[in-house]
């Protein structure tokens, strides 16, 4: 007979992509996880385009200057900010996940039973601290990208 956990995993798999955003009782952590995936996929796409775009330098100064001029268009400036936001979120949340995964700074593992003391008292402050830091970094990035001359 299948255990309850295995059965629930099976249900999530059957949901396919929709299963990613089915938070159930996981709450905020589940949405952070979805955002980690979405930002990661966006960054991979950007990385591949960025590798291709940097090759413009091999086609000479005119090709490079034209490419850089294109990136000064407001649409690309906004996309640069989106990439920055994705990077800041993905990196900070990734550090949090690594710390949690490797068991650093979180104390001894405890059973995940109600009222989830370990999750709320040890993990959750990390979420708030890193998101606060993320907000500050994002504000600084926005100031540079939209307000200051590059």
């Amino acid at each position: 007979m299948r255990s309850g956990g295995a059965a629930r995993l099976q249900v999530r798999r059957r949901l396919g992509v929709r299963g990613w955003i089915y938070a159930g009782r996981y709450g905020i952590d589940r949405y952070l996880y979805v955002l980690q995936r979405v930002s990661g996929l966006g960054l991979v796409l950007y990385l591949l385009l960025h590798i291709y775009e940097t090759g413009a330098r091999l086609r000479g100064e005119a090709a490079w200057t034209a490419t850089m001029a294109l990136f000064r268009h407001p649409v690309f400036v906004f996309l640069e900010f989106v990439v920055f936001a994705g990077f800041i979120y993905h990196a900070l949340n990734g550090v949090r996940l690594m710390v949690a995964e490797l068991g650093w700074l979180l104390g001894a593992p405890a059973r995940p039973v109600y009222p989830y003391g370990s999750s709320l008292s040890r993990h959750r402050p990390w979420v708030y601290a890193l998101m606060l830091l993320g907000g500050v970094l994002l504000a600084l990035a926005a100031t540079d990208i939209f307000a200051l001359p590059g």
Binding site: R13, R37, G40, V44, L47, I51, Y52, L58, E61, T143
Partner: protein
Amino acid sequence: MGESRWWLISLAAAALMVVLLTIHMGLMHLTGLLRATGVDLGDVRSFAEVTARGRSVTQLVFYLLLLAAALYHGLYGLRSVLLEVTPPRGQGLISGLVLLAGLVAFAYGAYVTVRTFTG
């Protein structure tokens, strides 16, 4: 090599990227803020600056490391997501395609970096 070993490499690549990518993003995209704090790097995206920087050994090593780490971590993550929505029979093909994309992208990125270095 077992799957857990690939995953650990992805974790190590992520840790390396946090450092390298933060430096890259700061120096290439936050020049206005740096200038406001008294560090003027000039027009870092001009052709003259890009080619001049590209001739340094530090830059060569830095970008080859960043390229390898970013492609490995990014494409390992992409593969993990794709495998979740792929039936077991197609998973080998997905892994092969992602590996191929990674090798092609690394070869092109490394070629651009090395060609800039050698002038």
